[in-house]
């Protein structure tokens, strides 16, 4: 089983040379730490920056330079700042190549729910609905099951949706799965996780085709 950093590490392998990437809050943020050094990638944050670098050194924080998680950041050479409408032009116009975000639930048809739990305090969708409605390439990073042990990979989402039929790939602490028109196709197992374990933890349609390799991370 992977921990959060393990999930981030596995997703980092999906990031290709020349990609513009938008990282959501939580596990996705960790992905930046594991992207290979020999490829060129630029990180976009929807509050209006392209070319994000690492967090600043203490004492060098600038209230005017933050990411969408409101964290202080730095920029790399070649970076740019822009307004919110332009930022979502990049997203809606499919100029961002890859979106990585967390989820509460993913359905076998690619539906995603990640913004609202009825009856609980709702913080809002932020840019997530724009991202999932527009991105051609969406990877969800999440735990395979919730704290109660119930599957988060479902036949149908039970929570209010963030987007419909949009998720292409899911990387969990147990597996890598591709969303196909027949359901979740199991691509890889996490170390020390059996296909049987994944079956038990997956409520949605699971397609197991041949030998399922263990992740190489």
């Amino acid at each position: 089983m992977l921990d959060k950093n393990g999930i981030a590490k596995r997703i980092a392998k999906e990031v290709q040379d020349g990609y513009y990437v938008n990282l959501g809050i939580g596990i996705p943020t960790l992905v930046a730490n594991y992207v290979r050094d020999d490829i060129e990638v630029e990180f976009q944050s929807e509050n209006g920056v392209l070319g994000m670098g690492p967090f600043p050194f203490e004492g060098e924080e600038d209230a005017d330079i933050i990411n969408a998680g409101k964290q202080t950041i730095t920029t790399l050479p070649g970076a740019s700042f822009f307004d919110s409408a332009t930022s979502f032009s990049m997203i809606r116009g499919q100029h961002v190549d890859l979106t990585i975000l967390g989820a509460m639930e993913v359905a076998e048809n690619g539906d995603i729910a990640n913004w609202k739990i009825p009856g609980k305090m709702v913080k809002g969708m932020g840019g997530a609905m724009d991202l999932v409605a527009s991105a051609e390439n969406i990877i969800v990073a999440m735990m395979h099951t919730n704290r109660a042990g119930a599957s988060k990979l479902l036949k149908q989402c039970s929570l209010p949706l963030t987007g419909v039929g949009c998720v292409k790939k899911v990387v969990t602490n147990m597996a890598v799965l591709e969303v196909t028109n027949k359901g979740f196709k199991l691509l890889e197992r996490a170390p020390d996780v059996s296909v049987e374990d994944i079956k038990k933890a997956t409520e949605g349609e699971l397609i197991i085709d041949g030998e399922i390799p263990e992740m190489d991370i």
Partner: protein
């Protein structure tokens, strides 16, 4: 040159009344119009309908207006780093409309640019689209979202001149430029009001035509919401 300069925040807020709709620039606490908010707190305007990406924190930003129960409705994409907000929302004192962030930006831009409505894919198939018109273009579904209508837009820029030209800094830019000219009256406060002619005409983010009043802001706190640093090796 048409002058937009007013002497102070009091003059900048002339015409502000209870029950109006206001836009506020800013993302989190970055790039918020601190002076305008402080003055609204001071004069105690009530019944406000606010359009702002976020709602501040308990003791800063729009949170200050929430503390005084001056806000009736928030239209935002992300809220609730804010206990008082949560309390008012759950008790029903505060009406909250959550909309996608890109939709928020574009409904501002539509108002600025004279478009009545826009088709965006964001929110299709979700409760955000409930009761809204949807339409297919080239096999993809879109939701029709309307331009905002607001009485005042309060924005904050880094530098500005008497002609109302604005330059923003870093990600403090965010929604500020999109809100300029998107309300009946746009009030810009700036960290530095520079003499006309000192800004390069080629490097102006918002031409003065989109700004009605401009003033030199004071005492910017520019609070950091999530101070995140790395260790020096």
């Amino acid at each position: 040159m048409i002058s937009k300069k007013v002497a102070n925040v009091q003059e900048a807020l002339e015409g502000v009344k209870d029950n109006m709709t206001f836009m506020f620039g800013g993302f989190g606490l970055s790039g918020i119009p601190e002076n305008a908010i402080a003055e609204l707190v001071r004069i105690g305007t009530k019944g406000l309908k606010c359009i702002s990406n976020n709602a501040g924190v308990d003791d800063f930003g729009l949170g200050l207006l929430l503390q005084g129960k001056q806000i009736d409705k928030m239209t935002s994409s992300y809220v609730g780093e804010n206990d008082e907000f949560e309390r008012q929302m759950l008790s029903g004192e505060l009406e909250v409309e959550l909309i996608p962030q890109g939709t928020l930006a574009e409904r501002c831009r539509a108002a600025q640019a004279g478009f009545p409505a826009v088709y965006t894919p964001a929110g299709f198939g979700t409760e955000v689209a409930e009761g809204k018109e949807t339409r297919e273009f080239d096999g993809k579904m879109y939701v029709l979202e309307y331009a905002f209508k607001a009485d005042f837009a309060f924005v904050k820029a880094w530098k500005g001149d008497e002609a109302g030209n604005l330059i923003f800094k870093g990600t403090a830019r965010n929604f500020n430029p999109n809100m300029c000219g998107a309300a009946k009256i746009t009030v810009a406060e700036v960290e530095e009001l520079v003499p006309v002619g000192t800004l390069d005409p080629n490097q102006i983010h918002i031409p003065g035509i989109f700004v009605k009043r401009i003033f030199q802001g004071e005492h910017y706190e520019k609070r950091i919401e999530q101070r995140t640093v790395r260790q020096r090796q």
